[in-house]
């Protein structure tokens, strides 16, 4: 049995060994991300492999349950965070994240992006994007509404499932979409829509899995890219997105370097890698979103069969930062009145 004094004497040796070990070990890049990216079926595993091949480092994902949770964790940890990079914030959480002052500029000259909007941001680098859209079951609906206006005015026996803007990204997307299209009349339109809303789920998965796939409603708020997965992987054309005349609201997913990281160079190398085909080719079918650069022939064929919105709608991120809370409250008011 070692006594305390002996233990104390050996401690420095052990610490020394540990330090040596650390110095020779590969650097570790810790990435905070959300489950659909890091999951076995997500792009995470393949990207980890591809990046580790060239970086002489280890890529470690810490999985938090949503983009909101990533931001939350960052705020809680402040400068003491162990994250070197955050991946999975989006255009609706961007400004709040920027305001924390915890993120560093990317300092990269971005390659030519393939986004529906012009992208000039010193901090956030986009890695994929998509449109919010209503996905419908072709076996239950022949002629889906052709515009948001038509959906709002449709008879109440058309049932839709939406998500709660307070707890879900697509839910917030619809809120912004309605606001963008109807402006000050949005709350009246929400009231008109209310009769058609079968239910509002907490998360996209709850609605998609528990309800939509159970045939509870013929239409659900999702992404315009959702059918690509069903067509390419499930080999079925049954689920399609309904194109709306007013255009579709855009979501861009982004990554950024954490200011307090001691691996900033490595983090920037990752952002650089992020906009190469080696990363981007995993996006279309594994994240089921549009890649952020032009993949050319590598873009799966099913993506040619997706709807092509006439306009990409998006509020400037600052507007979102300033008004989001008011808009959500307005929505609450309209829906509970």
């Amino acid at each position: 049995m070692m006594n305390v004094r002996q233990m104390l004497r050996t401690a420095p040796i052990l610490l020394g060994l540990l330090a040596v070990h650390q110095a020779y070990a590969e650097p570790v890049l810790t990435v905070y991300t959300h489950p659909s990216f890091a999951a076995e079926w997500g792009p995470g595993p393949a990207i980890k492999e591809a990046f580790e091949e060239r970086c002489n480092c280890q890529l470690r994902f810490t999985v938090l349950d949503s983009g909101g949770a990533i931001l939350q964790r960052l705020r809680l940890e402040g400068a003491g965070t162990s994250a070197d990079l955050v991946l999975g914030l989006d255009t609706s959480t961007m400004e709040t994240a920027r305001a924390t002052g915890l993120l560093a500029q990317h300092e990269l000259s971005l390659p030519e992006l393939s986004l529906p909007v012009d992208w000039q941001d010193p901090v956030f680098v986009p890695y994929d994007w998509g449109y919010f859209a209503f996905v419908y079951d072709t076996e239950q609906i022949d002629n889906p509404p052709e515009s948001l206006e038509a959906l709002v005015n449709a008879p109440d026996d058309l049932k839709i499932i939406i998500q709660d803007p307070r707890t879900s990204t697509p839910g917030l997307g619809l809120l912004l979409w309605m606001k963008h299209v109807f402006g000050d009349q949005a709350d009246e339109r929400w009231q008109q829509l209310q009769g058609k809303i079968l239910t509002t789920t907490q998360s996209w998965s709850d609605g998609y899995f528990s309800l939509f796939m159970n045939g509870e409603a013929p239409m659900i708020l999702s992404y315009s890219t959702s059918p690509a997965y069903h067509m390419a992987v499930d080999k079925t054309d049954r689920y399609q997105a309904a194109p709306f005349e007013e255009g579709h609201y855009l979501q861009v997913e982004v990554a950024a370097v954490v200011n307090s990281s001691d691996q900033k160079a490595l983090a920037r190398a990752f952002l650089d890698f992020m906009l190469t085909p080696n990363f981007q080719r995993h996006i279309p079918l594994k994240n089921v979103m549009y890649p952020a650069i032009d993949l050319g022939d590598e873009l799966p064929d099913v993506f040619d069969r997706l709807i092509e919105p006439s306009r990409a709608l998006m509020f400037p991120p600052e507007a979102l930062r300033d008004h989001r809370q008011d808009w959500v409250n307005e929505w609450l008011d309209a829906m509970t009145r």
Partner: protein, 547 residues
């Protein structure tokens, strides 16, 4: 002086009974209080304005309203079911039904909701059946109906199970006398059943109320819209999307006041006897009751049958959809399911055991204390985790221990710890009764014979606790097994636990594998329950070998 023939029993000092429980209860109070305080200290919003907002008032009103209705619904269904089950002490499948009733509580809500929708939804089995018969589903599942249906699904079986146990405690002789007097069903209710049930009802109602009050996923999914927002949802929203710690803390306090107040009332009246089944009294011969013959018999059978269907159908629906995928894929040893199962068990088993240990320590301390404030605090502390949302506990804990501790490494241990705290209210209910089973003169005799400390535990308590402990372990383990909230809060390396795997699959359009995972999770929970209840039923020799 008369010389003692032996030394003092090991661990006989009173402090051995008091200290662990008091320390634990203090830690729980500290964690909860500290968690709330940590949130308040991050203050940056106007609490007064929030307090006055119509939104908050609406949320509180709705939360109380749906919880009250759920309590009424659950109890009103549970009472006739329990009476019918007591009137028929033996029929094939009875013990299976009782096990199912114990289990309903721990079903992960996303799995249960999916099963409920598959049966009672607009395109569910019931709707199909009705359509075939030329009728329409008489309700719209989404809204208060759905919330009530789900809450009754979760809580009525639990309530009925507890009532069965309570009614079976009515001494056989009283039943015999009643049957000699030829009392009818109504009179039996007045003379025997109601007086037996009345003492457990307040505690039972408080338990169901708290469970429904803090309900989250069910309320959002089946509630239909933001009109159906519970305080728990508002807390989640405040923490996750508004980053408004203050508001979250205030809402948590409101929840604490309402539910905590209710428990305080229940405790003050001392009406918190053993409420969860201890599995020891579920079979046995009972006097034939005059109200269990003729048409009443058929009515009882119909009622029990319907109730069994109500419970079993959603489970079958999950199995129906999940088993084909599982059968096809289970042979694959690389399957993510295996790893996730192991990781889940690695968290859930320690969590379950910790919950049992904490419970025993708390009970020992409350038993050793005289009535008074410390005792009340020790009693109430076990129920705090039911009232304080795990997300608040988790975030508070995070704020408390995070600075520089490197949460990553402690993550899973913290998850197991919070999971075990979450199970406390249930394990407490299971173990309280059996823990106090030795009473009156027996305890005096035990004192006189110096059966104290370790010896009392070994000979007088453990033999009676073996079975309930396995059930408590079942609750603790399976509650942790199904937990998604806490583990998601603390984040994890890329390897998921089972519920995380399920959510990842759902988030990645992996619908078929997700049904498989849901089914697997449910199967695992069932297996743990069955296994542990088998374990508890092995005939107990007390372990002495003598010629």
């Amino acid at each position: 002086m008369h010389a003692a023939t032996h030394n003092s029993p090991p661990l006989a000092h009173r402090n051995w009974q008091l200290a662990p429980g008091l320390v634990f209860s203090g830690l729980i109070l500290l964690l909860t209080g500290g968690g709330l305080l940590a949130l308040f200290l991050r203050a940056d919003s106007d609490l007064a304005a929030l307090w006055q907002s119509a939104y908050l008032q609406g949320v509180i009103r709705f939360t109380v309203w749906q919880a009250t209705l759920s309590v009424l619904g659950s109890l009103l269904i549970a009472i006739p079911v329990a009476r019918a089950l007591v009137r028929h002490p033996s029929f094939p499948g009875r013990s299976g039904l009782l096990r199912l009733m114990e289990m309903s509580l721990v079903m992960p809500s996303i799995v249960a909701v999916s099963g409920l929708v598959a049966v009672y939804g607009r395109n569910g089995w019931l709707a199909e059946l009705l359509q075939w018969a030329g009728a329409e589903l008489p309700w719209n599942l989404y809204g208060l109906t759905g919330i009530l249906l789900a809450h009754i699904f979760f809580n009525a079986p639990l309530a009925a199970r507890i009532m069965v146990q309570t009614l079976e405690r009515v001494p056989a002789n009283q039943r015999r006398v009643a049957s000699q007097l030829g009392l009818g069903s109504w009179q039996l209710w007045r003379v025997l059943d109601w007086p037996a049930l009345r003492p457990v009802l307040p505690g039972l109602a408080a338990l169901v109320f708290s469970l429904c009050f803090t309900s989250f996923a069910i309320v959002v999914t089946l509630g239909g819209g933001p009109g159906a927002t519970t305080i728990e949802v508002a807390i989640y929203q405040a923490l996750r999307f508004e980053f408004d710690f203050n508001r979250a803390a205030l809402l948590a306090c409101v929840q604490l006041l309402i539910c905590g107040g209710l428990w305080w009332l229940v405790f003050r009246q001392n009406r918190h006897q053993a409420m969860l089944p201890d599995q020891s009294l579920s079979v046995g011969a009972h006097a034939r009751r005059p109200d269990s013959t003729g048409w009443r018999r058929s009515a009882d059978q119909a009622l029990i049958g319907l109730f069994a269907l109500f419970l079993a159908l959603p489970v079958l629906a999950i199995a129906w959809r999940g088993i084909p995928w599982l059968a096809g894929e289970l042979v694959d040893s690389e399957l993510a399911l295996w790893g996730a199962t192991l990781r889940s068990l690695a968290i859930a088993l320690p969590a379950g055991m910790l919950a049992v240990v904490l419970t025993l320590a708390l009970l020992a301390a409350t038993n050793a204390l005289k009535p008074g404030l410390p005792r009340s605090l020790a009693s109430v502390s076990g129920y705090l985790p039911l009232i304080v949302p795990p997300i608040v506990l988790g975030t508070g804990l995070f704020l408390l221990i995070q600075p520089r501790l490197g949460i990553q490494d402690y993550g899973l241990a913290v998850v197991a710890l919070i999971n075990s705290l979450m199970a406390l209210p249930f394990t407490l209910q299971v173990l309280r009764g059996p823990f106090q089973a030795n009473s009156g003169s027996t305890l005096r005799i035990a004192d006189q014979l110096d059966i104290r400390g370790w010896y009392r535990w070994r000979w007088l308590q453990w033999p009676r606790l073996k079975r309930p402990v396995t059930l408590a372990l079942g609750y603790g383990t399976t509650l942790s097994l199904g937990d998604f909230g806490v583990i998601a809060l603390f984040g994890s390396p890329a390897q998921p636990t089972l519920p995380m795997l399920l959510h990842q699959q759902l988030g990645s359009y992996q619908i078929a594998p997700a049904t498989g995972t849901a089914c697997w999770l449910l199967g695992l929970i069932t297996a743990i329950f069955v296994l542990l209840s088998r374990l508890g039923r092995t005939p107990g020799t007390s372990g002495v070998n003598h010629a």
